[in-house]
């Protein structure tokens, strides 16, 4: 009797193998491009891969929380761009010191995240609809505030070149990677080790059961969207450091890459499961793909195409995984 009605040990092992799938894909992809790509296997390319992951990575860490609650935030791409634009406006049009303008950027992201949270948790709008609306709102808001002027951040060789060196690259050293790493450690800690993180999983697994357990679900859901917005805002700084310009009316579509990375990393769109490590790996799979396809001589539109293929593949894998997990169940 004692062994019946429980998950058989072998089933668990199978699931663990699936956990290794994403890292294996990452290594496999890298090896593939190293062999077949032009000049791919070099420390220079490695650095390019790393640098292309900064702002997408920040967005991915943030939205991992939201996706684990069972929600989605489509506004992160435009939120990030809007935050960067408003920072630029504060710096160039309002005459704020650069450091102060940079402090404003994450706060803008946080504010939009808060609005998303209220719309979803309090007003009970479906996350897809609420954040789709906010995608347009943030995009429009950036244009309104900037009067549709492209915002320029200081670049190397100008007076405030410290911005580039602090947030992007110093000589040969990729300083931006430090922020990516720090964001990863903080996000992983918050998700795995804090009360908020634990509630994020519980809400995603069964929101109503969590509410009936005496958890203030509204509050923690709102918080998840705020964290997501905050990370997008910080991503805005790294975006500005990468490209030095923030163009009103853009940002739209960047969220798809961030969301794709999360899904590739094994976070289920159904909510309740996923890890920050998975997201990190997903981010690098996306980044390797981007550099790798370029090294094969394929242009950006090919990258778009393959990103789509990889996302669909990842979701298919997710379905297989969910089904496998449910099959493990043995009942009387």
């Amino acid at each position: 009797m004692s062994v019946q009605g429980v998950a058989p040990a072998q089933g668990t092992k199978k699931l663990d193998l699936q956990k290794l799938l994403a890292p294996a894909v990452l290594v496999g992809l890298y090896a593939f491009f190293a062999i077949f790509g032009n000049n791919f296997f070099s420390s220079y390319t490695l650095k390019t891969i790393l640098e292309s992951a900064y702002y997408t990575g920040l967005m991915s860490f943030g939205i991992t929380f939201v996706i684990i609650t069972g929600g989605i935030d489509l506004s992160i791409g435009t939120n990030m761009m809007c935050s960067a634009i408003i920072g630029g406006v504060a710096f160039s049009m309002w005459g704020w010191p650069l450091w102060l303008a940079l402090c404003l950027v994450p706060l803008v992201g946080l504010a939009f995240g808060f609005i998303n949270g209220v719309l979803v948790a309090k007003a009970k709008l479906p996350p897809f609809i609420a954040t789709l609306g906010m995608m347009l709102v943030t995009q429009g808001f950036g244009s309104i505030v900037s009067r549709v002027q492209t915002q320029r951040y200081p670049t190397i060789g100008t007076a405030k070149e410290w911005f580039k060196t602090v947030f992007y690259r110093t000589g040969n050293f990729p300083t931006g990677a430090l922020y990516l790493l720090a964001a990863f450690i903080i996000a992983a800690f918050v998700l795995n080790k804090t009360r908020f993180g634990r509630y994020v999983y519980a809400i995603g697994s069964n929101e109503e059961a969590t509410r009936l357990s005496g958890v203030r679900v509204d509050k923690y859901k709102t918080l998840a969207y705020m964290v997501c917005g905050l990370f997008a805002g910080i991503g805005g700084i790294l975006y500005a450091a990468t490209y030095t310009t923030a163009i009103p009316g853009t940002g739209n579509g960047l969220e798809t890459y961030a969301i794709a990375a999360v899904i590739i990393g094994g976070t289920s769109m159904a909510g309740g499961s996923g890890t920050m490590v998975g997201t990190l790996i997903g981010i690098f799979i996306m980044a390797v793909l981007k550099s790798g396809l370029a090294s094969l001589g394929l242009q950006a539109h090919w990258q778009t195409f393959f990103t789509g293929v990889v996302v669909i593949g990842a979701v298919l894998m997710d379905n297989v995984r969910v089904r496998a997990a449910q099959k493990v169940k043995v009942e009387s």
Partner: protein, 500 residues
């Protein structure tokens, strides 16, 4: 109509292995036309596994199956359907926004060229329902029907496949009240007289006497015996199931001290489905809530525990007016609600046993900023022992536990919270006899500690055994209150039945 003694199903020497578990060991089972053959056993005994083998969901690892005398291989649910085997699951699979007719003929719609012929389909469905003597309108939306009626629609759907001769009912009465059960039984008897062979899975011993002709008992994945229902006392069957004797005597007097203070009081409570109900709950008391399904018992509990909006009335806790708006408020004030539907409202199935247990009181497991997982796990292990949760580890996902063990996880998570008032809504639904007894014991231990319990149950013997006082509801109103000394099934029924 075929002859009544025709053998429909013969399963012999069935073997089924899951990794690490010998789920079915040399099991046999047979079914005749025109009989109700009950299949009983504790959770984990292998009943569902056996039925999944018969319906093609699992492939057997050994043994043979004959359907109407012919050896068959059942590799998929469709194979089973083609052989005339239909199953009605405990969880209903109806589309609530579609009509009865649309549900019955889904996938086999009446067509007129490329267009749906709704009129013909509705007529066909209505004729069929009438033929089954079901008082259900084919054009009604399924979501608007009572659970009992939905169940019958599900059975009608199974029977509407023309070749269905073998019908498996998995715990059909679990969500039903006594009156509805009678209605269902009449229907089942009618089906039986038409030559359908019915395999009936239930945990409710009393029912087997009423409805079944033969009973097959399974234990630990093995076949124990098949007996004639009429010739076998219930006690004997239970002994075969569990290998031990369980006593179920009704309580004769209240165990609550007369001077025990009132811990929870509701005054003129109103919500969408509760009409002006007042009640008192005393320290150390088990207050039973009796009534038919839809009487408003669950709704009253949800109101008190903040799950539903209160539209009127006051709640007092230890004499103090309490402003309960959300479950959070209720839990903070020491009221915990254990839902009747543990999978939907009680558990995070995708989380571990430990994380589920810690959910009601995560604050106490936080050190500095971080959750102390070691402490969560050691607490969970403590409850695993105390409540006897049968799980390989506290890291196991709740999804993979059996119903009885899931219920023990729900109870544990509320024990951790240490609420003064616990509301148990159908705590033993779908749970085997052995686990039921353990849950009763836990409830007794709680009131002995000075906690108070509100217990909803549709099984009257259970209420008569557990409660100190019984409050009866009907159609959202309180229709009476009986001390345990005076309560009988007849008196409860008289109060619970709607006055026409």
């Amino acid at each position: 109509m075929s002859q009544q003694n025709e053998v429909l199903v013969t399963m012999t020497g069935i073997q089924k292995y899951f990794p690490g578990v010998h789920a079915l060991n040399n099991v046999r089972f047979d079914l005749h036309a025109g009989e109700v053959h009950a299949l009983v056993g504790e959770n984990g005994a292998g009943k569902s596994t056996l039925m999944k083998v018969l319906t093609g969901i699992y492939q057997m690892d050994g043994g043979s199956i004959e359907i109407m005398g012919k050896p068959v291989e059942i590799r998929s649910a469709k194979d089973a359907q083609d052989l005339g085997i239909s199953i009605v699951h405990q969880e209903l699979n109806l589309l609530k926004d579609l009509t009865v007719a649309e549900n019955i003929y889904i996938g086999r719609e009446n067509m007129n060229g490329i267009l749906l012929d709704k009129k013909a389909q509705n007529k066909r469905a209505q004729d069929f329902l009438d033929q089954l003597n079901l008082n259900i309108k084919a054009t009604q939306n399924v979501g608007k029907l009572t659970v009992a009626k939905q169940q019958m629609v599900e059975i009608a759907k199974a029977l509407s496949h023309e070749n269905t001769r073998i019908l498996i009912l998995d715990e059909p009465t679990a969500p039903l009240s006594d009156v509805e059960i009678e209605e269902l039984f009449r229907f089942i008897r009618d089906m039986r007289s038409r030559g359908v062979g019915i395999i009936y899975i239930s945990h409710r011993m009393g029912e087997l006497k009423q409805i079944s002709d033969r009973i097959t008992v399974m234990r630990d994945g093995q076949y124990v015996d098949t007996v004639d229902t009429a010739a076998t006392p219930i006690g004997e069957i239970i002994r075969m199931m569990v290998g031990r004797v369980i006593y179920e005597d009704p309580k004769t007097e209240s165990q609550v001290a007369p001077e025990a203070p009132v811990v929870l009081e509701g005054k003129n409570l109103r919500s969408r489905d509760v009409k002006d109900v007042s009640f008192q709950l005393r320290k150390g008391e088990i207050l039973g809530l009796a009534g038919l399904v839809g009487a408003g018992r669950t709704e009253l509990s949800r109101l008190v525990s903040g799950a539903d909006k209160r539209e009127g009335g006051e709640i007092y806790i230890n004499g103090q007016l309490a402003d309960i708006q959300t479950p959070y408020d209720a839990v903070e004030l020491g009221i915990g609600y254990l839902s009747e539907d543990r999978r939907r409202y009680g558990l995070c199935l995708g989380l571990s046993v430990a994380n589920n247990i810690a959910l009601t009181k995560l604050d106490s497991f936080i050190q500095g900023m971080a959750v102390n997982d070691r402490k969560i796990k050691s607490t969970a292990r403590e409850y695993k022992e105390k409540v006897d949760i049968r799980t390989p580890s506290v890291d196991t996902l709740v999804r993979s536990l059996s119903g009885g063990n899931q219920q023990k996880v729900v109870i544990s998570k509320w024990l951790v919270r240490n609420c003064d008032v616990l509301i148990f809504d159908e705590p033993t639904r779908g749970i085997d006899v052995g686990a039921k007894n353990e849950i009763y014991k836990l409830m007794h231990a709680l009131v002995d500690e000075g906690k108070s319990i509100i217990m909803i149950s549709s099984e009257m013997p259970e209420l008569l055994r557990m409660a100190d006082r019984i409050l009866v509801m009907c159609e959202g109103e309180k229709t009476g209150e009986l001390g345990i000394e005076e309560a009988t099934q007849e008196k409860i029924m008289a109060l619970a039945a709607p006055q026409v």
